[in-house]
Amino acid sequence: MVKRTLTLEPLLWLLFSAGGVVAALVIPVLLLLFGLAFPLGWLSPPSHAHMLAVLGHPLSRVTIFVSCTLLLFHWAHRFRYTLYDGLQIKHLNELIVLLCYGGVLVGSIAAGYLVWQLP
């Protein structure tokens, strides 16, 4: 039998897709609330205590960490190809990969740390 060539591409693509789903499902409503509705005073923001309760729930911590990581993967994958196609700089491949997935790593660590340190 032919040996399957193992590449990371399928894995990255799955992460990208999962991130795409998360992005489509939850970002709009969160941005609407925190980015526009609260700052512009359409709605009054929740109390600190409530936010702490919501975010501090163990389930939310895990969700937030995972979501952030997936979103970053989504970004990295798309951005990488945008750079390839839009600017035709595929020859800088290594640099781009470093930039994108480095970003994912840094972002995930940050997200991990932040949800961890929530009181």
């Binding site: 039998m1 032919v2 399957r4 060539t5 193992l6 590449t7 591409e9 399928p10 894995l11 693509w13 799955l14 897709s17 798309r78 190809y81 390839y84 196609d85 035709q88 595929k90």
Partner: protein, 247 residues
């Protein structure tokens, strides 16, 4: 009835010039004339040196693809009146090397087509005496859409990924691979996956969707590729998690 319309044609004569130039011709613009009729009029009446491909003039042989006003089209089903009052710009298909005038070089596709094994792969061939493979209309409808491809190359002309990286296997070839993968009679999807999961295969496609946009036969190569990606990703995830599992 006999309005006229100007066609601005890209000409390229490799023996004489380094780059294509444009030339203008005036042709009758009749209600039932397609761009191809205009070109034939030029070739027959005005300038015999104009070169282009065509054959069936009924949208099935796939040889008459050209760029009409910037869009890839089958010229035998693109009406002149839709472009009145003109002028209409006609160029060879994009993303391919131009051999001459409106003729492009497409052996690249022919080679790629062979690599994806577009035939029924069976571990064991069924003897003729045992009759046909059973296949219900539902099973058939799984792949039917992808078998409609006429190899007209419009999708390649539209795909930006192909324009930037000619090594990309490209929409029609992948759609045809899917056509056989999804055929209940076929057992070759594993072999094809090895070829298509290389970087120039499915993963290079960023789902621009242009290919589906321009396809005259509603093959939906973009969908085929997406579907393939999902299948391929799950398969490789499986073999990643259970490396000692099946195969």
């Amino acid at each position: 009835m006999d309005d006229r319309i100007t066609l601005r044609l890209a000409r390229y004569r490799p023996e004489e010039e380094a780059e294509p130039t444009f030339e203008e011709y005036e042709v009758p613009c009749r209600k039932d004339w397609v761009v191809l009729d205009g070109l034939n009029y030029i070739k027959d009446q005005l300038d015999g040196t104009l070169s282009f491909r065509w054959s069936c003039r009924m949208g099935i042989c796939g040889s008459c693809g050209m760029t009409v006003n910037g869009e890839p089209k089958l010229t035998c089903e693109t009406f002149l009146t839709d472009y009145a009052p003109g002028p209409v710009r006609i160029e060879p298909l994009q993303n391919f090397p131009v051999i001459r005038d409106l003729i492009v070089e497409m052996t690249d596709f022919m080679q790629k087509l062979t690599t994806i094994k577009p035939w029924i792969v069976r571990d064991e061939e069924r003897p003729l005496a045992e009759g046909e493979y059973r296949q219900t209309p539902d099973e058939m409808s799984e792949y039917m859409q992808y078998s409609m491809c006429i190899n007209c190359m419009l999708c390649y002309a539209a795909c930006p990924v192909y324009s930037l990286d000619p090594k990309f296997i490209g929409p029609a070839a992948i759609a045809l691979a899917q056509r056989y993968n999804l055929d209940s009679r076929d057992e070759g999807s594993g072999e094809r996956l090895d070829i298509l999961s290389q970087h120039e295969g499915i993963w290079a496609c960023t789902f621009v969707g242009e290919c589906t946009e321009v396809c005259p036969k509603d093959v939906d190569p973009a969908g085929a590729i997406q579907r393939y990606k999902l299948d391929a990703a799950l398969t490789s995830l499986k073999s990643f998690l259970l490396p000692w599992g099946a195969r």
